[in-house]
Amino acid sequence: MSEKPTMIQALNRALRDAMAADGSVVVFGEDVGALGGVFRVTDGLTAEFGESRCFDTPLAEAGIVGMAVGMAMNGMRPVVEMQFDAFAYPAFEQIISHVAKIGNRTRGRVRLPMVIRVPYGGGIGGVEHHCDSSEAYYAHTPGLLVVTPATNTDAYGLLRAAIEHPDPVVFLEPKKQYFTKEELDLHPVPPIGQAVVRREGSDATLIAYGPSVPVALAAAEQAAAEGRDLAVVDLRSIVPFDDETVTAAVRRTGRAVVVAEAPGFASVASEIAARVSERCFHHLEAPVRRVTGFDVPYPPPKLERHHLPGVDRILDAVDDLQWEVT
């Protein structure tokens, strides 16, 4: 590619490379075949690998996930696409009661190497049901790995890692970044479970994942202009959680703000805030602040900018970190 690839192209490349490397990788879902997915993440896979490796299914998400469970039981590595975040909910029982639990149920005799890809989050001007940040439902469910990239290189690497992983992975793709063009580095495949410090900083730490990482970086940029030096941690993996990286960053700065799009109540952001508050208690100069979506259903396009955590709201939270106390 002469031009820098989009995240969609990075994901597409990951699928292609995984399918080429391992004949047991199969891709299926709604519109993933001829159409190449409504976002074109599966573009060209049927043409390249044939109908048996990448195919359309009837329109039924529980059926898709349930069939993937069976195929994984029988030696394949299914990668299924849920068309949008809210359209994974029909598969919830399959995901919670089976995908997450069959390994444990069978004392490890049946492992399910499968990936459920979910384009998630807002900021695309989408109508209702197309912009949910649904990570908390998965992250709260023991037995699932929950991964979300924030860069194109991670999108590629983490998807490869997810497909190779022996356990089921819910792979959350920040659709707001789907069309972001970035240099793509194919080589460093980050192991699932490692956060990364995207920006060092000494005054406070912003903790983010997926679609909130670029927002956090922009906020840090702006803060720098205002004389405040913010670190940014990109979780990359929500489950497992990289306590080490997060805790170390917060201890260095003594202050932390968690940024996430999902409604804040009983969310992944709550977890991060609770963990950090507990583990860094004596290092904290101020309470851990959360900048999240409001506790409302995802709003219509014309109001979403008020709902989503933006640079200003993050910087307000940073301002609130009781700087005068120290």
């Binding site: 159409l35 009837p58 109508v127 396009p301 014309k302 709902h307």
Partner: protein
């Protein structure tokens, strides 16, 4: 398959609805077609974010609304803008969702039209509930529940049909089989002989009807509604039709179907055949045609005018409707946003 007027406009069956009924229906078709066109134009002009056109399916849209009484309910999907308009709801209110202003722009209780359903087939159990509640209250309300061929694959389709049958709920399930679920063809959706055949598994009568034949649709749906109103339970009607345009403007149908197929279906256009028929019987005069076209233009102008008004949206609405009374948490969050907007914060 039930058919009364074939694609050439010839009458091929008995029991045609009265000419006035067909004339009213034709007028509604003209308006529905115009609405589809107008909405498409608004999308191209960037004044509407997205529009799932029912071009080619207007007979289903019009018939679904026409056979209902005012006290009945309509349960539409995202593709059924024209059906809702045919029921009498202002198209501008219907388009509020696609303008990105709010999720549902009309009053479902006042209009007896449920919010347009996006998650496929999920509206069908609601329709059963509305119908069952009506029966418990001693009302003879009938519920017309729409869905597409793709939606029949969802578990909720199954559960709704089964509940309706077991409770003999007054629901007419109308499947607009337009042959595609976005890009996925019918053959990937079902291996059954027809979608109407699905009724057998629930003990529900299933009828297949030419979905581009307004006359046949009117007869079949009128009978299904009457059956439901009598207390004889639900029906499943499969309308054989076709989505002429893209799934939405965001879709690229050239990836999954060839133009030839589309052309074949254009010949079966629902307006065309009814116009031929009504003209041949003399019911449709050039004056009436002009009249209908005028009404359609008026409606289109109304839509265009409404679209250029930028409705002010109060950000406080974010919190206002989540619960009947906002929780303390939402009051706090609303106050935070208000402070931000008044510049209280940065």
């Amino acid at each position: 398959m039930e058919r009364l007027i074939d694609e050439t406009g010839a009458v091929v069956g008995h029991g045609l609805p009265a000419p006035e009924v067909l004339l009213d229906g034709y007028r509604a078709l003209v308006l529905a077609r115009r609405l589809n066109e107008q909405a498409g134009a608004l999308v191209r002009q960037g004044r509407l974010a997205v529009y799932p056109s029912s071009h080619g399916q207007e007979a289903c849209q019009v018939a679904a609304a026409a056979v209902l009484e005012e006290t009945d309910w309509l349960f539409p999907t995202y593709r059924d803008v024209a059906a809702i308009a045919a029921r009498g709801v202002d198209p501008l209110d219907v388009l509020v969702m696609l303008r990105g202003e709010w999720h549902c722009g009309y009053d479902p209780i006042a209009t007896r039209v449920a919010p347009q359903a996006t998650p496929l087939a999920t509206q069908l159990p609601h329709a059963v509930g509305v119908g069952h509640a009506a029966r418990l209250k001693g009302e003879d309300t009938v519920v017309m529940a729409l869905c597409g061929d793709g939606a029949t694959s969802e578990g909720d389709f199954h559960e709704a049909l089964n509940f309706a049958a077991v409770f003999a709920a007054p629901v007419v399930f109308l499947v607009q089989n337009n042959k595609y679920a976005i890009s996925v063809p019918l053959s990937r959706q079902s291996a059954a002989e027809s979608l109407a055949a699905k009724g057998v598994g629930y003990g529900v009568p299933g009828v297949r009807v030419d979905g581009n034949d307004l006359a046949a649709l009117t007869v079949v749906l009128t009978e299904a509604v009457a059956r439901a109103r009598r207390g004889d339970g639900p029906s499943l009607v499969e309308a054989d039709t076709y989505r002429i345009q893209a799934h939405t403007n965001a879709d690229d149908p050239s990836r999954y179907r060839d133009d030839e197929e589309v052309q074949r279906w254009r010949l079966r256009d629902p307006l065309l055949r009814l116009r031929v028929h009504l003209t041949s019987t003399g019911a449709l005069t050039p004056e009436l045609e002009a009249d209908f076209a005028g009404a359609a233009e008026e409606m289109a102008a109304h839509v265009r005018a409404g679209m250029s008004q930028d409705n002010a949206l109060d950000p406080a609405e974010l919190f206002a409707h989540v619960y009947s009374t906002p929780t303390p948490q939402l009051r706090e969050q609303a106050a935070q946003l208000a402070a931000e907007l008044s510049g209280g914060d940065r």
